[in-house]
Symmetry: D2
Subunit: 414 residues, 4 copies
């Protein structure tokens, strides 16, 4: 019996939704074409976007293949963070001019069939829950994808439906904007901020053929991809899932759109990593001429999806902007977020989870955060809601009353 | 034809859900019993809570009747903010001991039939959108309640379903906790924080009969109610609407629960006031002995309602922690929130709203905020989603492309 | 201390949302003005609707006060079903002409504070689950309202948020339409249909002053209110809750709108009664001239509410159009519905509920039905989804595996 | 640069989620292995299900490749309906015995990348909207898949997110059950029911190697797959989408589970076909020994998905069980459904859609039906809700008031 698909049908299917970039998730990022790890206006485009039409982009995971599916976190110890994130593109948007806006439909984000798993990492200095009183250990948890569902052998008794999305999607900065980024971030680093990624040649990579001088300049000047910025970039919007739409400003002719850092699922607030994965993004781009002015667009705007998750029943933790040692901060958002997270972690530990497992859940599960109150100075209040339905046991307070319900739970790879 | 309800049936109905406190929304708060405007462990209880049973508490609006339903904001100019908030209670919870937790069902919050309206106020120094570059003017908008729906003659082309909730619900602090609050807030004020409310005799009020010495001490020491704190208080959780549940820690025998500052609706993040109203809270209290320890409860925890609003289709604005003048802050939550809000305001102004009208909408409508990303230093990202369905015209970007759609819109009372 | 509300404020509040009809839920319906129990074009209007403005209508329960809050079902045995339903009105809609459409906003439906309870009735011949093989007994269950929540001492381990709505809302038929109804229903009764209510003088009632001749004619000719019809009437749309909108055709000048039969909550499909209650409807009416033609409106159309319940996690039972004795029907919708209901009842009985308790739940809880498939002849498929969150124990199949989980559950009043 | 995935990783990925059946969507169904078009207990299993583990099954579209992607409906004219549906399997469930229940997780349903389109068909005699007064024409509409979104050149101004699901999923009947089906359906056909599919050799197909005698018997006795029945089969549950769970009874050792007839999206009630497609089902099966008794399972039961669509804002049409000619039926579900559908069709035609286009929308879009009321004899009421958000223009009644809004809309292939 014949098993091959007819070539002309395959061709028609491929033409209907062309693939602009192909990658191999099992090979190192720094060996692959059409991949870059910095933001710079002079990185050449790898393909034209078919305006108004769906297209596919294959993407590596953010680390570019440094993490393997096993039970040992040695790869995390050795992780080269300077090469974050391995992005596909950039793509040329015909007709796009500075001042325009791209309207981008996120039509589908999905993992490769050949790599049905992702990972989450915790490490000191990596995420937002670092605190002198609370040690963060290095861990790796592997999350298996079973269709739209995921679960991890490293964080048992939990499974959930993903809400896949691109962690990074952004346009290229103009030279002036790039200079602004570099300056303002250097300034905050000088003022003592920790963990602010400055331009560095180590880890810089552009897969395209380049003249040596240009390559040197891009590697030296290129903005690190870690912070989200006004062009989008690593804004990590969990709600930017299949069916959502994002609006991005254009700063250079052709827009130079890049995408990558796919996530299978992410908690709002993402204190460490999401469930990081390689995979395929299906997008559609339309152009809004002069949109920056007509939409008053300073930073990305998006429209929600009719298919986002419905995990409505949540147990919600609050955090105030008072530090763990009792110091009152003035509307400190990060302090408030951290307090809500620490409360949730302590709560989940009552059921037998380790601190790291609870931390991972707060970063990868479909957790919903809110800025609750901003005006009641000096206390900023942030909340963090954990869906009840993702656990295979009851996590409501009644389950903890009248005697703890400790479980034997094995931990993530350390 | 007889029109009176039979006394015994009325009695049975009243016994089924007893009313613990009655107030008159048309009289000044400082003339009414069972009302207090400070947190202090020594304020005497006004009634016992029937444990496990529904009861009603009538509440004044937060200002205690200072605001009238007209088109002139002179009452706002004269508003005595030192008397915030006029709370009902406190209530004694039989058996409650320090270390316990109250589980409180919010069964219903609703306005008085005799006062089917509320108000929102903007003023310099009042909310969280104050910024040197953006002037906040004094305004008052009146919101009419038509059953569960509200709209305002001062902010046209908008109407929405309320999600009524108590802005303030909290237990009394122990003397030690009260001392901590006072100290840490004085400290942050000394360090330069603006708008931090310190204890002050002006505006202090307890409606109960008290010995003069005790009254003096409470007025002098009592914590201001403006900031939300670990006991709950003014945490302004919009999701704490009919059908939700909140968990509060107990610090003194009998818990001394107070409630007030009812809101007809509030945006997440509430940058200025909500739709402030007087009305009736129906609550039910259960006791979790030793709950602070068994639930690891440091600050309030709540469970969402099966009846919260379903305004899922939203246009969402993002804000980064880079100040308007280009200064990079280190994960500044308030800066990020403000930027998202400023973007949304500018966007709404494209349709013809004034800055104040847009600001009001961001504070009273069922707006959904999220802490999007916290780990991508130095940029904290916050989002603010405006439901499309509350406008009687299309606010999606397509409506702004190819020519502005200015509307003639009349403003709030100034 | 003064406790009275100022008369002028009360007056303003009353003027803002005027009450067009007042009733006393503790007095018999047949003693009260502005109440009628039949549809007829000649029933005089009791008030004018203020077009485009909110107004209130007080309503009796459908039985007109025949049911009392106790644990004995004798009142149900004696219930006079000929007097269903006790409706308030009719109301004159200024300018409405035959061919127009009323757009009616359901702004709020709520019980009287003086009667915070409702009831559900099962009885042979009353509902849609009658079947030769399955006996229906007479029962009464009392449902207490605690704010927006309800529960019943007669059906334990269950509580839920209501979705209050008017069971009956309709316009008056023209004489021609009334004649059609009478004829087509007589015809189906002649063809053997059971339980079809024909015009009957017993139970007919119009509270208005009428000339004797007119009264006789209305009582003799008036259509029974039990079936929903093209004008609306008893269509029992559970989704017509606070925030929804319904469109009704106009057949006579002034439309003659009536409303009543309020429900605190109802299952889709409502096989017997809902949670029947007396209370207050807040409505707003707008007029669409010529709407029957421009909207192609033959029967009521409605728009859903942004505040309808979010009980998304459901266990869903299916029913096919094969009768219990194995007879295949041709796409019999009632048979399919009944089979889904019988499966759900048997399932709930595994947990210890009696047949009647399970039946009641299928009629009063926020159950969601669907017409699943209509084209796969001869099998019509209907589904019936029970929300998991309304039970205080786990009803998922895993709870029944490996040994039954029988509970001691006390029954409804019989 | 290397582009091949490493063989061992591909192997691990394939082992993680093995594919039990492979098909070619571009070849005729009757040429492919592991495909069958009838229900019969003696069809041999093609593979064992790995109990508790995810696996994939590739499926043809229901017609087995008879429909092509073009603008001419000649293929529909020639369609051999006797070969419905082309199912994959059956699969052997180790340990399953009669009386057990299969719990099946629908982990993902998706189209083949090589065939990113589906189709909908209307034809006289095919669906449930046939009526002497309303002619149904033969049409074919092609629906393109762009990631999770679909739209059709044949039904413009509409696009929506899919909710993919298996139209058919069922276990094999025992010989006794098969005999019952045959008898009861023959009986209803004898009584005059139209469109009831009886056993017929034409179109019967089993891809497995069989002894001639067995093949003859299966072809002669095998039940047609069109009606859904107690084993599941063609029950066309639109809600059985990614993340849902279905419970099916076991009648023969090993259960003999089959699946197919994948749909990209379907309206509740599916009056004609869904968006029919070939694709890949990812499933997981667990066994509940003795489940038929412990769950009282007579027909399929399912649990909803946390990821089902959130198209909450709907315009809802109602239908009563009164036929178009004015004849009252006794609770005729099909009549009521048809009336709601006819009203919706007439309404959509006001915007310029043809009858066929509107009909197609009611069958393929995420439409929500409800059994509204069953007890108000003689009128059964059914509703049909159309989501507002799937149209690129406003379909609310206000858009039709004050002058029609006719559009030029091109039709489906005829």
């Amino acid at each position: 019996m014949p098993t091959a698909i007819r070539p002309k049908d395959l061709k028609a299917a491929q033409d209907a939704v062309p693939t602009l970039v192909r990658v191999n998730p099992y090979l190192p990022g720094y060996t692959q074409k059409d991949i870059h790890t910095r933001w710079h206006p002079d990185i050449p485009c790898v393909a034209d976007v078919p305006l108004g039409q769906a297209f596919r982009v294959e993407c590596l995971d953010y680390s570019g293949g440094q993490v393997v599916n096993d039970d040992c976190a040695d790869d995390i110890l050795d992780l080269d963070h300077d090469s974050d994130h391995h992005l596909s593109g950039p793509f040329f948007v015909p007709g796009a001019q500075p001042g325009d806006v791209l309207e981008i439909d996120v039509l589908e984000i999905r993992p490769f069939d050949s790599q049905p798993w992702g990972y989450c990492v915790t490490a000191p200095g990596l995420g937002s829950l670092d605190h002198p009183d609370v040690e963060t250990r290095i861990t790796k948890s592997i999350w298996d994808f079973r269709g739209c569902e995921t679960s991890s052998r490293h964080v048992p008794h939990v499974s959930f439906h993903g809400r896949p999305h691109p962690g990074v999607i952004g346009t290229a900065p103009s030279p002036e904007l790039l200079a602004q980024w570099t300056e303002r971030e250097a300034d905050v680093a000088r003022r003592g901020a920790k963990g602010v990624c400055q331009p560095v040649v180590n880890g810089a990579y552009v897969g395209q053929d380049l003249e040596p001088g240009l390559r040197d300049r891009i590697y030296r000047e290129g903005a690190r991809t870690s912070p989200g910025r006004e062009h989008g970039g690593n804004i990590d919007i969990g709600a930017l899932t299949n069916g959502a739409k994002i609006y991005l400003p254009v700063y250079v002719p052709g827009a130079k759109l890049s995408v990558g850092d796919l996530h299978f699922c992410e908690a709002d607030g993402e204190p460490t990593t999401a469930i990081e994965m390689a995979g395929i993004a299906t997008l559609r781009v339309n152009l809004i001429p002069g949109g920056i002015s007509s939409l008053s667009l300073r930073t990305p705007m998006y429209q929600t999806s009719p298919a986002d998750l419905r995990y409505n029943d949540q147990l919600v933790f609050t955090g105030l902007s008072v530090d763990l040692d009792g110091t009152q901060t003035e509307s400190g958002g990060l302090v408030a977020y951290r307090n809500a997270a620490f409360s949730a972690i302590d709560y989940l530990m009552e059921f037998g989870y380790t601190r790291e497992q609870a931390y991972i859940l707060l970063s990868v599960a479909p957790v919903e955060t809110k800025v609750v109150a901003t005006a009641n100075r000096p206390n900023f209040v942030i909340s963090l809601g954990i869906p009840l339905a993702i656990f295979d046991f009851d996590i409501r307070p009644s389950a903890l009353c009248g005697g703890r319900r400790r479980r034997e739970i094995t931990g993530p790879a350390v």
